[in-house]
């Protein structure tokens, strides 16, 4: 049984201008909306790292939000452990494209958010453990605005892992970071995954991210998005792009598919 199953998923947003202008009697959702996702069918296994690529604005974040339960599909459904997603839950933790840390809480308090139910002593130990895990020791009592971009990502990651979710959903976790920080945090995510083996969904714009991290790569087409490619990568990690011929060929293919005629 697959962990996450996406069945005939469709999403459209209501186009307010069009609705108000044409007073047609036709009230079906599809005719009023702008289609974003069109009949998406996907299956993810437990513990898999799934990397999702696609042109900007095609609906990658929308897809993740529906998997996380923040939004309802217009048609079709998302099943987690064979049960339809009805709303957000601590089983699937979302790491936001633009920081999801609560700015009025310190790193410590943010990580504490998912550990509220623990006894004080156990809670303290668990918070410290997760802060140490992402190497933010000694930064516990700083507020997010006092951290660098990379440290903020790590703090949000620690907060997410601390609740021991079944699924981690990350929307462009490396965007806006400088090149070296990007590499470093990507490495940390890979190491973390080796340790905790959670199903991890990652939207990224970086083809190399997908090749280095993914057990599965999904490419979505432009709006309305359909699944253009679904490919399993049966390589262990860490991976070396320079030495792996198969990955390099796939890399060229992906660049081409995403509209760049030669790989850089």
């Amino acid at each position: 049984m697959s962990h996450i199953k996406i069945k005939n998923l469709q999403k459209s947003y209501i186009d307010r201008r069009r609705v108000s202008r044409s007073k047609t009697k036709d009230n079906s959702k599809a005719s009023q909306g702008i289609a974003i996702l069109n009949d998406i069918n996907l299956e993810f296994e437990k513990g898999e790292v799934v990397c999702i690529l696609g042109p900007s604005g095609c609906g990658k974040s929308t897809l993740l939000r529906m998997i996380a339960g923040f939004e309802k599909p217009s048609a079709g459904e998302v099943l987690v452990n064979n049960k339809p997603v009805t709303g957000p839950h601590a089983d699937s933790i979302f790491v936001f494209q633009h920081s999801g840390l609560l700015p009025w809480m310190t790193v410590w308090e943010n990580v504490e958010l998912g550990l509220r139910h623990l006894e004080p002593v156990a809670r303290k130990v668990a918070i410290q453990e997760h802060i140490d895990l992402v190497e933010l020791t000694r930064f516990e009592h700083l507020y997010p605005y006092q951290l660098s971009g990379g440290m903020q990502r790590r703090a949000e990651l620690a907060r997410g892992i601390a609740v021991n979710p079944d699924t981690l959903i990350m929307d462009e976790p490396f965007s806006g970071l400088d090149f070296l920080t990007h590499m470093k945090i990507r490495e940390e995510v890979v190491n973390m995954h080796e340790l905790i083996k959670k199903t991890t969904l990652i939207v990224t714009h970086d083809i190399d991210d997908a090749l280095i991290m993914g057990d599965k790569i999904i490419v979505l087409s432009g709006r309305p998005a359909t699944v253009k490619l679904e490919k399993n990568l049966n390589f262990g990690r860490p991976r070396n792009l320079a030495e792996n011929l198969e990955l390099r060929e796939l890399r060229d293919e992906l660049f081409f598919m995403l509209g760049v005629s030669y790989a850089v």
Partner: protein, 253 residues
């Protein structure tokens, strides 16, 4: 930097004093019409020593404190409810926007009729002057909370109560502090006006009474005391925003 913070205001106050002094000297007005800085200073000292100034200042501050406090403890919760619950917003928002532009001073006749003479009508007017700004600023702040934060709350299974205490209240605190600052200034403006009509004490009463006695020097002492206390109130409210747990508001967009 710190020096500039002290020196520059001193310069502007000195210039004001100088102009004042020059006007009294060369305008041809008598001291009774336009008292000089020195004369006002002497009167100031006089009113401090005989306790009049303190008595009136305390009376005014008492009314402002009560009225403002009531406005805050009722206005902030109502603002939060308005910002969070759509149906309440639809029910009350138009009404609030209708009442809000009516100056508290326009309520004076009714306030006196309803509550008679004394502290109550003045407190009522101050309450009105602060209540609407607090409600409106709070509800606007609640509506402006980034949806991401509510998604985080849902993601971590926060209860309704926890959403209030861990998300809504901290998120609006910076704007609420700004609103407190603005409201206390308005309240302080209104108390003086209210005291000119409804009561026998307070700085507003002192000014009116001095005018009737043709003591323009006392009038000016009253004005200066109002300014100084207003400055202090603003300073107190401003220092709230320096509290560490609200400092994020100045750095996070």
């Amino acid at each position: 930097m710190l020096n500039q913070k002290i020196i520059l205001p001193i310069i502007s106050f000195s210039v004001l004093l100088l102009i004042w002094e020059l006007v009294t000297r060369f305008s041809g007005w008598s001291q009774q019409v336009f008292p000089s800085p020195l004369m006002v200073l002497i009167s100031f000292q006089e009113l401090i020593v005989n306790g009049e100034l303190l008595k009136h200042a305390v009376a005014s501050l008492f009314r402002v404190s009560i009225g403002f406090f009531l406005a805050v403890i009722l206005g902030i919760p109502l603002g939060i409810i308005l910002g969070r619950i759509k149906i309440v917003h639809l029910l009350l928002n138009a009404l609030i926007q209708f009442l809000r532009p009516i100056s508290p001073l326009a309520w004076i006749p009714l306030a006196m009729l309803w509550f008679g003479i004394g502290d109550v009508p003045a407190i009522f007017l101050i309450f009105l002057s602060s209540f609407f700004p607090m409600v409106v600023s709070t509800s606007v702040a609640v509506e402006a909370i980034k949806p991401t934060f509510f998604q985080v709350a849902a993601n971590f299974n926060l209860s309704r109560y926890e959403i209030l205490t861990k998300i809504v209240i901290p998120a609006i605190t910076p704007q609420v502090i700004t609103a407190l600052r603005i409201s206390i200034t308005i309240a302080w403006l209104v108390v003086v006006a209210a005291e000119m009509i409804a009561v026998q004490s307070g700085l507003g009463y002192m000014i009116l009474d001095s005018r009737n006695a043709l003591r323009m020097d006392y009038v000016m002492v009253g004005m200066i005391a109002i300014g100084i206390i207003g400055l202090a109130l603003d300073f107190i409210m401003q220092s709230l925003s320096q509290i560490e747990s609200t400092a994020w508001g100045r750095f996070t967009k």
